[in-house]
Symmetry: C2
Subunit: 644 residues, 2 copies
Amino acid sequence: MEEIPGQTTVIVDTTHSAHAGLRPAPLGDVTLTDGFWRPRRLLLRDITLPTQFEQLERTGRLANFRRAAGQMSGRFEGLYFNDSDVYKWLEAASWILATDSDPQLKEMVDQTVSWIEAAQQPDGYLNTYYTLEHPSQRWTNLRDMHELYCAGHLVQAAIAHHRATGSTQLLDVACRFADLIADTFGPHPGQQQGVPGHPEIEMALVELARETGQERYLCLAQYFLDARGHGHLGHSPYHQDHVPFREMDKLVGHAVRALYLSAGATDLLIENGEPELGAALRRLWHHMATRQMYVTGGVGARHQGEAVGADYELPNARAYAETCAGIANVMWAWRLLLLSGRAPYADLMERALYNAVLPGISLDGQAYFYVNPLASDGQPEPGRELYRRQPWFQCACCPPNVARLIAQIPGYIYSLSEDTIWIHHLIGNEAQLTLPSGDSIQIMIRTRYPWSGQVFIEVLTAGSFALSVRIPGWCAHPEPRNRPTVSVNGEPIGGEVVAGHYVTVRRSWAPGDSLCIHLPMPVRHVAAHPYVLENTGRVALMRGPILYCLEGTDHPGVDLRDITVGDHTNYDTSFRPNLLGGIETITASALVTPPEDAWRNALYRPVATDSRTGRPTSLLAIPYFAWANREAGAMQVWLRYVPA
Amino acid sequence: MEEIPGQTTVIVDTTHSAHAGLRPAPLGDVTLTDGFWRPRRLLLRDITLPTQFEQLERTGRLANFRRAAGQMSGRFEGLYFNDSDVYKWLEAASWILATDSDPQLKEMVDQTVSWIEAAQQPDGYLNTYYTLEHPSQRWTNLRDMHELYCAGHLVQAAIAHHRATGSTQLLDVACRFADLIADTFGPHPGQQQGVPGHPEIEMALVELARETGQERYLCLAQYFLDARGHGHLGHSPYHQDHVPFREMDKLVGHAVRALYLSAGATDLLIENGEPELGAALRRLWHHMATRQMYVTGGVGARHQGEAVGADYELPNARAYAETCAGIANVMWAWRLLLLSGRAPYADLMERALYNAVLPGISLDGQAYFYVNPLASDGQPEPGRELYRRQPWFQCACCPPNVARLIAQIPGYIYSLSEDTIWIHHLIGNEAQLTLPSGDSIQIMIRTRYPWSGQVFIEVLTAGSFALSVRIPGWCAHPEPRNRPTVSVNGEPIGGEVVAGHYVTVRRSWAPGDSLCIHLPMPVRHVAAHPYVLENTGRVALMRGPILYCLEGTDHPGVDLRDITVGDHTNYDTSFRPNLLGGIETITASALVTPPEDAWRNALYRPVATDSRTGRPTSLLAIPYFAWANREAGAMQVWLRYVPA
């Protein structure tokens, strides 16, 4: 069908394409202008990455490479998987350099790359723990010792470094090591059988195959997936070795392992299109998203084993919800989104990004949560300090992981397929995108999202193509005035705009043509499934994609557990630029309803209807991601709720 | 005041005596006739203890002693603290032999005692792990290696053996070892400083002092208590070393450790009367009983670290509630009861005995729960089998512990003070008790408790003394017809009978005089404190001291999570002699109210008032202690509750 300039075809996509074939827009083609994300990403460059580099140096993580290279003496320092933290930092720094040059950061990156290169053994092997401590015991304990996990992070860092700088220095190192691994492991005679105890290299190898065109890396990733669940890891559920991957009904065991594995398997599915694998991944994701996920998008109910937990097992104060698991959930959903073009995956990415990943780092960019509870009494527990972000950890997986995820934000906004530009995330930017046809399209997005639902998209280049924009699932609303609308050059588009789907506008665009999206953002009372026992009779406050919480410091003299909201609670919202880096707050008059006196000395007693009387209090809710950035105190996400 | 025969003085005790000075009636003076407990105790003799002996032999636990004695070759087998399982078994068997002779059991006991004796080193040391594996490393790791813990269990076994048999064979062994320990540890110059990583020996040493009159054992126990909290265990909260004991506000860390320590401290308090220690113990117990305890009387919310948990942290399906912690709670409450004569301690003993200890052993006496969840979906979790009792465990602390507790039941019924016989537990028996005055009193109790609240107490010997009988706290009830009554020789006593207190009847008793207690047992809807999040909008069914639950096998096709009861639910009860060894069942017509369809694919969604429609179903509740004795399936204690 010939496109007539100015003529618009609108498709509200509700179908599921088995393989949408979306390709991510290169991160370097997108320049953030966003009021929310650009300062956060620049904070990485200016504060987070330099301070993390100091921590890497202070803790011997960088020295381990210099020692393995023979440049300095001494034994291996720290935990045996500490190389991976260096690689993750390097990946984060590379993604930053891809868009924002910085001489000091570049020097740190160059130094680090040279130390890594120097630590590589003549045959390509690269792991400072084994090289320094047990050179003869390489590959003798794949289950526990994270050699392949570290290798995976090296490969990912190398790809980022190559894409950011054009240099092949680190990519060559990574390929040499990957070649050694591909020689060593596999199903062929003379090769060692085995799978990594911590998945990660699967994603890395698929991407390395994409980067280099070398199919052997893809085959190795496929081998690691297929060999899993056959006892190489003792049939351990913690390691997802209890059954072959395609037979899994739900995620079990260590949450980050389970999610990394699923993300790697999705990468393989994108390449091999295997139906059985596709069915398994859809089943696992659906189960996770409807049974095993916090309202934050975080995963991991159990401290014990850092594990996923049983269906609907989602305690609040005892949530584990490791920051890395929230990151992994974004990574997995992104791959499923590229595969399918379905909005629920992007919705989940968004949920986890704002509410599970972002809480992992302090507003000043120098402290991190490893564990992300949804409630806290603010009291330090003997032996732990879960309720405050820490400047570093002995096991420091989360800090550089949150950095590398935020560094990649520009790469998550768009993807491309045939003649379509997909807009997955509503983040301000200017981009120069190249369609598969070769056409180069300049486009920009302006928005105050997530604080406002007004999104202005302007096409700056003439061209005939489609814009496919996600209408978030959260803006489904029964009242017409709260439903999303889309207009082209000021004219509302025909057809209903359906939340949780992409709206596709196909036309011949003239420079200056615009798409205006309006997503109303009333405060929402969100309930959890009745089987999530801790949230019975409770609601969480959400506005747009943002989950809110209460902090004790804003409610002096009130036990947050006693604050009760209901259908008649009237919420006001306002942007407070000087609070917590600038946030939209929610305020209301709510009730404080403490337990009745009869409970003072009783833990169990005959049931009686609690009176619903209470005294009024001023409720102030802040975004959950911003909690614990002021003085220590209580925090609560799920509030008591009385319908009427 | 002269007592006039037949004249009765009734005291409903509501005061708290700081030191009531109750002395337990010797276990051997009490002969169980009870329909509930006597068969269970005989099952120990006939099934449980012989099969446990086989397990001790099969797993090398007994062979370790023969090896350490040089009677056979080979290295130490099993876990380094396995000696303690032998001692606990021996204690249980001894208490049985104290009342019920059995030649086969006696032979096992004699053999075991001789092996233990032979394994003792010339200087008195006795620990087969260290003797066989690291003879030169005694006492080098008090925190982790359980040497003093094992020693404590040896002492307790020896005291039981001495009391049961009159033989000093094992007591001499224990004293030799205790002497070595008292020489080794203490505050004096030349002595080693340190405290046990797992409390237990504190209780044992106090009892050994009582048994032998040797004050040095008391001093050693006092040293171990006082030295704690000063960093010998690295200030670890897991080991209750974070602060000195008297400064603790609440139990923290490993539940069994915390409770054993508290029980040992209470033993010391009974002996030393130290006010500060008394204040600490009352504070800790009150906090536990009102913040940290399951409705079963079990303790331990966390799998991780087998730990107590935060205030009100009491998950159901993820309860840990180790059987040993329930046992420890009984042991601690017993000591507080002896100290104070206050009914709440006996109430808690009763609660834990029926609902936290008894579930630990199967009705056939051959399988054990280590972990005691309050809900189960009946699905095996990969890598665990928590939902079924097991015949043994690698760490087998619970099986012999539950045996030694049930074996001691006759000793928990009565205690004595001045001219008063205290009846703490309503269990059928015939006893020949000796008052401190020297008067010997024959007394018997007849009852179908816990299935019936009719308790008939008959005095068979003339004498002037008081009977102080606990009126359980559970029978507090707003309706007069459901209130407890007490009559003497058929005549209701004057004064109100108050639940949760002892009623004291002082008179000159003639043979055949009787006390008749009537405790109405309606089915009760019990609620949990509003801060126990998982139980919001839920009730547990209780009747008398017994907690009930639902099992899936009695509710085919129904998800137990959907069963809803309310104020109008009419309960019937009936005794079914052929079900689960004979139990009182609760039946009712209840509603099944599954989650609405909108929840099918959602974990979080805008709050909406769930409709309260449902289909009727027949509810059958069984005692919680009897669950998991039929085919595997779901189980639920806390039921959805809609008031009206």
